[in-house]
């Protein structure tokens, strides 16, 4: 009976040890640079200014006339 009681606690004990040992538990999974930037509005606003400096604003031709 005693042996059976100890073996019942063993998986829980092992989970506890592994949880503290693993650096990933309790943290978010690592995200790519793509996700880090594209989910951050402040970063995107700042980057959009940089992009505009490098690439310029999207332009329409001044020669367009009439209804499209």
């Amino acid at each position: 009976m005693q042996k059976a009681g100890l073996s019942g606690w063993a998986p829980l004990f092992a989970f506890g040890v592994l949880s503290f040992a693993s650096p990933l538990v309790g943290q978010e999974a690592p995200t790519s640079t793509c996700v880090q930037c594209h989910t951050d509005v402040k970063k995107l606003i700042r980057l959009s200014w940089e992009v505009e400096k490098v690439r310029g604003k999207p332009r329409l031709s001044a020669e367009n006339e009439g209804e499209g």
Binding site: T33, C34, C37, H38, T39, S61, E63, N64, E65, G66
Partner: protein, 374 residues
Amino acid sequence: MEPYEKIYVSQAFLKTDHGQIACVDCHGGNPDDPNWQTAHAGLVKDPTFPDPENACGQCHPEISAGASKSLHFTIAPIGQAIARRMGPADPPVRAALETAREKHCSQCHASCGQCHVSRPDYVNGGFLAQHRFQKTPLMETTCASCHGGRVFAEFTGLNHKIDADTHFEDAEMTCMDCHQGDQMHAPAEGVETRRQSARRPRCETCHPEASSQDSERAAHQIHHRKVACQVCHAQAVKQCYGCHVGTDAKGIAYFKCQKTTLGFKIGRNPAPTPDRPYTYTVNRHPPVIPETFDFYSPGALKQFGQSPTWKACAPHTIQRQTTQNSACNNCHGNRALFLDISDLADHEVAANAAVVVADDQLPSTLADDALPPN
């Protein structure tokens, strides 16, 4: 949209099925590089065009295979219309018009992504819902981006003194209620015009009684298979009379569109089919003129008369009651309503010979103008 809004990805997207796929799997680029310029080297902005197989086909093989050959994806009929009007031509002329087609006409193609994820490229893109995939996109942001000039404006009542289409105004329908996925994704190889598309919407799908010879309405019985539904039930539509295209000194493509009007013209159906047996249809003038591509190759449309410039159309200005169906003689004997040779420019006469309604083809005035009893 602000530039950042166009590319902002929400946390909600990351929790969706599509959000489980690594960005790099569809878009390429270098996800480990913190420098935006080098990280985006080789990036594929729209991984669904020109070949959606890798991005969409892995999970949606049937839809992807059909959609990549659909009218929206290839807009092939435009190339065929140009070829018809160009006729046999020297390689430099063909190459020049191919450039024009790519720079101008092809800008309106719609890939999987440009309907379900972002706005079309034609309006400079931008996510529809922060990269969340939209199974049924909104007509205001998706359809109207390319069809805003004519059909969307007609459907939603943006044209001066023309009522919105009753399907929009009264039934609160959207584009997708008639133009469903199976039509959008249907392959269209060999189709020369969208009228030949087997899965185009049909009035009788929802109104079988109206299109039956046994209809309770006498007007429906009398005009059965002779007159397209829109001849009686549409209002005026936008007519465009000329467009020039070119590239400015900075290398940017431009359009110069000439006169437009709101008008209603009934023409003869030049090629009746079992599917479209009508004698009379409503016609629209597309913006093409012989000089449309002169910037790229002067006089290239040598066989301009090979194709009518008054095309049968499906106006999106439908009403149950219209001016022309309120009395028989509003149509019968009403010369102004039917396409006449005097409506044509000189260069259009040959092209529209089979569409013009000559005086002896005009439905004659009826002695009794009262509508037949229903």
